[in-house]
Symmetry: C2
Subunit: 261 residues, 2 copies
């Protein structure tokens, strides 16, 4: 990893997640990053998985502080992951943060899951605010997952992005395979794929109405060597650069010809 120049001050890092402030993933992330910068956590007050870039518009949001130490303060918020970033930015921080970090998520956010992920909602919100932003996810849903192998690569990626920045309108979706060590770091594209068998139907006893739990299995036929899915399967850390400009540039000319009038 090529670090061009060395910044001397420590960065101000805003951290959030979608598993809630008590999750092991965010606590481990804070432990890893404490030596690197001044940390402010604003995390949801409970689990908010699958919240994407959702914002709370139908009711007010509140927050409260739960930690205040040298170089580290932490708050919990009643809103979504994106609300956390918006609220911390205007109500807590005295200046724009240098970095915004989401995670560490308990579970895989590779491939098309970037669209549903609350962790990546944080990161997209950070990027929309013009701040270098990174999401970290481990392919393990367990509440007591072992995050310790992630410490070194996370510190390496965060230090690099702090020193060198990211291209404009680009943020990073970083996924770690479930492994004790990694083969290396690969920059990848988002794999295609789809979710199947998404609902588990139940019935209220004794003869009541159906209700449906969201579940399902991910089918990813797109396992080419340049994808994040392939990198994870092979034991690499998968770094997928994500653009907040969703314009389908390659389709513009065709659609201009077909649709404009």
């Amino acid at each position: 990893m090529n670090i061009a120049k060395m910044k001397e001050d420590k960065p101000l890092i805003l951290i959030s997640n979608d598993d809630g402030f008590e999750a092991k993933g965010i606590r481990e992330l804070v432990r890893f990053l404490r030596p690197l910068g001044q940390l402010v956590v604003m995390a949801p007050d409970g689990p908010r998985s699958g919240m994407s870039c959702a914002i709370t518009s139908d009711r007010p949001v509140t927050y409260s502080q739960f930690a205040n130490e040298e170089g580290f303060s932490a708050y919990k918020c009643s809103g979504t992951p994106v609300d956390c970033i918006k609220l911390a930015s205007t109500e807590i921080l005295c200046r724009q943060p240098d970095l915004i970090i989401g995670g560490i998520n308990h579970g895989d956010n590779s491939a098309i899951n970037v669209h549903y992920s609350g962790t990546m909602g944080i990161v997209i919100e950070g990027c929309l605010r013009g701040i270098p932003s990174i999401g970290f996810s481990l392919c393990d849903h367990a509440a007591d997952a072992d995050f310790s192998p992630l410490e070194r690569p996370i510190c390496q990626i965060v230090s690099h992005v702090w020193q060198c920045g990211l291209p404009e309108s680009v943020c990073l979706n970083v996924n770690f395979p479930l492994a004790a060590s990694f083969k290396g770091i690969r920059v990848c594209r988002q794999a295609r794929g789809r979710w199947m068998n998404e609902w588990e139907k139940r019935q209220r006893p004794p003869h009541g109405k159906d209700y449906f739990w969201l579940t399902g299995n991910f089918v990813g036929e797109d396992m080419q060597e340049d994808t994040d899915r392939w990198a994870l399967k092979e034991g690499y850390v998968a770094v997928t650069p994500i653009s907040i400009d969703m314009t389908a540039s390659a389709a513009m000319e065709e659609l201009k010809e077909r649709i404009s009038e």
Copy 2:
């Protein structure tokens, strides 16, 4: 608009929105599209603005039917806009729909608002399922907004997409300016911009805790002639093609050099 071939059967069209099943926008959309195809509505049972691609994973989801006529059936659902598409696809429809339509949204979904929009969540979900998908939004938040000028261009765009399809992994974000008639239809790119002054702080009486309402104003400095914001300001219908592949392709080589190891 160039229609290459004519399909003879009527399409099966799945419709949803994020303003809820009772909103005028979805009722007008159904009225416009009734002559064009067989319609199935699965819409949230109340407002779900700003829900993005959120899915409901922490509680079960239910639905019930509220209309069943020749060529038109309608259901309301306790979940998010994306839940509506997922649930209708597996529990209601006997085959894959030919088109998925979101809207008509009460309010502007141009520029970066694509990330927060529940209407565009529907459309992105449709595109992830491989189905040609379109979101329609009117730049007017009023509950009784006048959607009648939209009838002709909406039917024109839906007929065209039904006949000719859309490029792979591409869906459409269509926004209408608040006007009695439109200058034409422009295919645009997503404008940059940001939200400012996003929170209105209130206090619980008499001396209680602060709470925060999400509000704000959109600042769009990016008004170049190829943007959706420019098209809307000039009185055009803005058609922004959106890619569900969020990979920042233009940044791949630089990041591979900087980050891979």
